[in-house]
Each structure stands twice: as structure tokens, then as C-alpha cells.
Amino acid sequence: MLTLGSAVVVLLSRNVLYSAYSLLLTFVGIAALYVLAGADFLAVTQLMVYVGGVLVLLVFGVMLTHRGDAQKSVAQRATEPNVVRTNHGRTLAGVLVAGGMFALLFTVIQKADFTRNEATFYDPITRVSTVPDVGIHLMTDYALPFEVVGVLLLAALIGAAYLSSIRN
């Protein structure tokens, strides 16, 4: 509920910073859902990467790209409420798309027979913690993606450093 409620705030708020803060709540809520789904390692990763990294990055982005009104003096600007606003466009289309998507997924999920899943796949988690399993999988079955993700990170790092370096 917390997760969804705050996600709705991201959608509705015009203030970019409010959106960012409610995104924080959403991420924390998702981490909680991970714990409830028995994925404790992923929950911690979620907290560290999203809340600690991605969100800080986003807030930095908001701050760095906030255009102060150049005509006003510093003193004038200091008295104004410090809000960064975003415009809404195509609101109707947005509501239609989001609503339609949810309706579609809702009907599909209603039709899907999850009891079959419960019966055939695996009895619900009885293990204590997933950390050891995740570690073992990462080094055995998933060694190749693990290595290759390194290439991705390297490419992203070089690219980001290159794009944001100021040498004009």
C-alpha cells in the first residue's frame, strides 16, 4: 500500500522533488516486498543501489538542471519557495494508457491460474536466508553474465565520464 501510494504521488505531483521523495518511499516499499517474498539479499541490494545510488543521482540531476531565474537577484530568489516544477502534457493519453495497461494486466492475472504454480514448481520457501545460494549461483551458473555485466558497467562508466566532461 505504501509502495503503491507513493508511486501514485510520483505520478500526480508537479513538484519534481516531491516526486523524488515519494520515489524513495516506493523503493523502500519494494525492498520490504522483497523481504516478504523471501529475497533478503535482493532487498538489501535494492536499498543500497536504488536508495543509496540511483535516487541520489536523480536528486543531483534535479538540482544541477534546475534553472534559477537569472533576472532575479540572489536575495529575491532566496525568498521564493524552492520548487522545481514539471509540466504535464497529454494527461488524457497518459491516464488512458496507464489505465488500459492495468486493466489488461488485471484481467490476465485474474485468468492466470497461480495454484498450478504453487503445486508444480516448489513448495514455498523454507530456507533461512538466500545469501549463500545467491553467492554460489553467481559464481557457478551465472559466471558469464557476471563477467559480462562488467563490460556493461565499464562501457557505461566511460560513456558517462566522456559525455559529462566539460572541455568546451
Partner: protein
């Protein structure tokens, strides 16, 4: 597999080469690296390997596709120049390294056996391309294109990923063959509806990446705004890799639900062909025209995927090869011609810039003409056989299913002839500037090579086709 490992290492090596004072080393070094990877790739010919607990699978099809990708990359790097002349704005080491990394991603998309590898490969390719699109930092258009490409691309990634999640929910696996056996094995309780929706989402994501209508709207702006060299890279490598991945995914995993996806794909094909070709007619810039034409070529390739006959892989291979070579030639000539007379500080990419090209440099005009003729699919060029093989897969599938698509495709090929010939007419029949255009030896060599390949494949298609 060896090619993937070697390319990753070469990319890193390239970065270190960037520290050297002399920048001249970089271009030959990168070309050498790609050639080495190409050779390493061929070593596995006629062997089947499965790597790392079903993560990657290499077979002859993989080698064929990756050879095409490496060949196009080689050509693209060869026509790249110093990326501008001033010291401040040029970082060739970074460009080349990112290009090599993106090829790693493309190769993984070709050989994946597990959806994780597809996802990561797609992301490596996309993230590298976002950066390359925005690499001309001084150009407003390049920046805008990067932003649009990123937002649209990551949006598509989100949809694609949600699709994967739903398919996992239905089948309980990411392994292609495991999904395949679930789908065609017919579980006792019937196929979960999650699978259908998931498949549709995955299709939407993939079609987005290969710029098929109605997911093509980002293409013209991005292709137009990106530096021309990277436009050439994007419109060839991404398409080849994307179609290889799409074909592999649909045939290995989802053969069991062919009845569902061929209808979706044929609808998309018809739309893509119509939109791509008809909008291309109205463009005044050659670069934008080539962007729309790449949309329409995605449509032709989709025919072969949707037909899904035993001939389909070789048709896709031949078509991508012909298309890639011709496109690279077209863009190479465009780069040279557009640079001659900049308008408002940016290259002149209008049709008028090509006026009188035959007198200014006969070689440029000739190779341009050959590549355009090949893209239009006129006999005696590779493009004709590409279209021929693609259409014949559709005929094999049967006229009741594919008849409409075939009619549209043939009609649209005729429309294509019109806008491709506008460029040729401009360069041969109209008069313009008379000052000659000089070309460097490597550039000349590449143009001669691609033109010879296009004509050679047009005359003797069987030479390559036997390999496929």
C-alpha cells in the same frame, strides 16, 4: 565465444592506447582488433559449443551472423576519420572502445541461450549507442537525439523486461529450450495467459529496438541527429543483431504459439513497409531519407521472420549482409559529400548537395549509385537477391497467409525505387559545383571493396549462400 572474449579485451586495450601521444595508432589498431576477432570467430566453424551452463550457444548460424556484424563494424571503423581535427573534442580511444564493447553486446544477442544473456547484450548495445549518439557534444541535434534515444530506448527496455518477467512466471525458466519445451509440450492445464502477454511485451520491446512501425517514431530524429558515422553503425549492426535475436527467440522458444505471433508480425510488417517507404518519399534530407528507408528494410526482414520457413535464416542473413554493405556505402558517400559545403555550421545533407557529383568524383557517384540500386532491389546487385530470398520464404509459407504482405512489399519496393533514384539522378543528371572531392586511400579502398561486394553478390549470390 573467443570473439566475444577477445573483443572485450581489445576494447580495454584500446582505452590504454588512448594514453599514447600518437593518435594515428588507434585506427589501424582497432581495425586489426576487429580482424583478429573475425578470425577468432571463424575458428569455431562447424563446431557446436554451449558455454557456461547454457548461457551461450555457438553454431554456424551464430558465426554467420557475427561475421556480418564484425564485417560491418570493420567497414564503419574504416570510414571513420579523426572525428574532427581539433585536439579538444576528439577522443577516438573512447569512441573505438565503446564501439568494440557494443559489438560484444551485439554478439551476445546473436548467440544467447538464456534470456539473461539477451537482456544484458541488448543493454550493452543500447547503452553504448546512447553514448555514441550524443558523442558530438557541440551539436545541439546530437544531444537532442541522445536524449530522445535514451528515453525511448529505456522505456522499451522496461516493457521488454516486464515481458521477460511474465514469461518466467508462466514457464519458470529463462532458458530458451526449456521455455520452448514448455510452450510446445503443452502443459496439462493449458498455457498460462501470462505467457501470451509476456510474449507480446517482449515482441514490442524487440520491435522497438529494430525500429519497426508502430514503434519507429524515434528513428528519424535519432538517426538524423546522431553523427553520420554512428547512424551508419546503428542502422546496420543493431538491425542485424536485433533480427538474429528476434528470429532465435521466436523459433527456439515460441514455435508452439506460432499462430499467435505470426499474425502480430505480419500486421507490423505491413505497417512498417507502408510507413517507412511512404514517409521516405517526402524527405528533403538524404540522411532522413536513409533513416526512413532503414525502417522500411526492417519491414522486409520481418517478412522472413514471420514466414518462419527453413530458408528463413539464410534469407535474413543474405538480406542483412546486402543491406549493411549498401547502407555503409551510402552513408560513407553522404559523410564526404555533406562535409563539402556546410550550411550554418552543419553538414549539408539535402538532395541538392549531391548535384553534379558524377563530375566532382566519379568513384563516389558510382559507388553511391550501386548502393542505392542495391537498396532499391534492382537485379544484378546484392539487394535484389536479398529481396528475392525474403519474398521466396513468404511464398513457401503460402499465399493465404502471406499474400497480402507480399503484395504490399512488392508495391513498396516500387515506391522505394523512386526515392533511391532521386539521389542517383541528382548526382548524374543535375549540374552543381564542379570542384572535385578528394578521398583518402583507405576510404577509396573501402568504397571500392563495398561496391565490388555488392555487385559480386548480385552476380554470384550462391557463393555466400552456400555458407549460410
Amino acid at each position: 565465444m573467443l570473439s566475444i572474449i577477445s573483443l572485450s579485451l581489445f576494447g580495454i586495450l584500446n582505452l590504454f592506447l588512448g594514453f599514447l601521444k600518437s593518435r594515428r595508432v588507434l585506427l589501424p589498431a582497432t581495425l586489426l582488433f576487429i580482424a583478429l576477432a573475425f578470425a577468432a570467430n571463424l575458428l569455431d566453424w562447424n563446431h557446436q559449443y554451449v558455454y557456461f551452463r547454457d548461457m551461450l550457444r555457438t553454431n554456424n548460424l551464430f558465426i554467420n551472423f557475427s561475421s556480418i556484424i564484425l564485417l560491418t563494424t570493420f567497414l564503419t571503423v574504416a570510414i571513420s576519420r579523426s572525428f574532427g581535427t581539433d585536439e579538444e573534442h576528439t577522443h577516438p580511444a573512447e569512441y573505438y572502445a565503446i564501439m568494440l564493447f557494443s559489438v560484444v553486446g551485439a554478439l551476445m544477442m546473436v548467440g544467447f541461450e538464456n534470456l539473461i544473456m539477451l537482456f544484458i547484450g541488448l543493454e550493452i548495445l543500447s547503452v553504448s549507442l546512447y553514448v555514441l549518439t550524443g558523442s558530438d557534444k557541440r551539436s545541439l541535434r546530437s544531444n537532442e537525439a541522445a536524449l530522445k534515444y535514451f528515453l525511448m530506448g529505456s522505456f522499451a527496455t522496461g516493457i521488454f523486461l516486464f515481458g521477460i518477467a511474465l514469461v518466467y512466471g508462466a514457464t519458470g525458466s529463462f532458458n530458451l529450450s526449456a521455455i520452448g519445451s514448455y510452450v510446445s509440450g503443452g502443459p496439462t492445464t493449458g498455457i498460462s495467459p501470462l505467457l501470451y502477454v509476456g510474449l507480446l511485451f517482449i515482441l514490442a520491446g524487440m520491435l522497438f529496438k529494430v525500429s519497426a512501425a508502430p514503434f519507429h517514431f524515434w528513428t528519424p530524429d535519432v538517426y538524423d541527429g546522431a553523427p553520420t558515422l554512428f547512424t551508419a553503425f546503428m542502422s546496420t549492426v543493431v538491425k542485424t543483431a536485433g533480427f538474429a535475436a528476434l528470429y532465435r527467440l521466436l523459433t527456439v522458444s515460441f514455435t508452439g504459439v506460432y499462430g499467435l505471433w505470426w499474425q502480430v508480425l505480419t500486421g507490423v510488417t505491413v505497417l512498417t513497409l507502408l510507413v517507412g517507404n511512404i514517409t521516405a518519399v517526402y524527405q528533403s534530407s538524404v540522411k532522413r531519407m536513409l533513416a526512413y528507408s532503414s525502417v522500411s528494410h526492417a519491414g522486409y526482414l520481418l517478412i522472413a521472420v514471420a514466414a518462419k520457413t527453413p530458408q528463413s535464416p539464410s534469407a535474413i542473413l543474405f538480406y542483412s549482409l546486402a543491406y549493411s554493405i549498401a547502407t555503409i556505402t551510402g552513408f560513407a558517400v553522404l559523410i564526404l559529400v555533406a562535409e563539402q559545403k556546410p550550411i550554418e555550421g552543419r553538414p549539408d545533407e539535402r538532395y541538392e548537395a549531391f548535384n553534379g557529383l558524377a563530375k566532382r568524383n566519379p568513384l563516389l557517384a558510382f559507388s553511391l549509385a550501386v548502393s542505392m540500386v542495391s537498396l532499391a532491389g534492382i537485379p544484378l546487385t546484392a539487394g535484389f537477391w536479398g529481396k528475392f530470398f525474403v519474398f521466396s520464404t513468404a511464398v513457401d509459407r503460402g499465399m493465404t497467409n502471406m499474400g497480402m504482405v507480399l503484395v504490399v512489399a512488392v508495391l513498396m519496393s516500387v515506391v522505394g525505387v523512386y526515392y533511391y533514384f532521386r539521389v542517383i539522378i541528382a548526382s548524374y543528371l543535375k549540374t552543381g559545383d564542379s570542384e572535385p572531392i578528394g578521398i583518402r586511400p583507405l576510404y577509396r579502398f573501402i568504397l571500392v571493396l563495398t561496391t565490388a561486394l555488392t555487385i559480386g553478390l548480385g552476380l554470384f549470390p550462391d557463393v555466400v549462400r552456400q555458407l549460410f
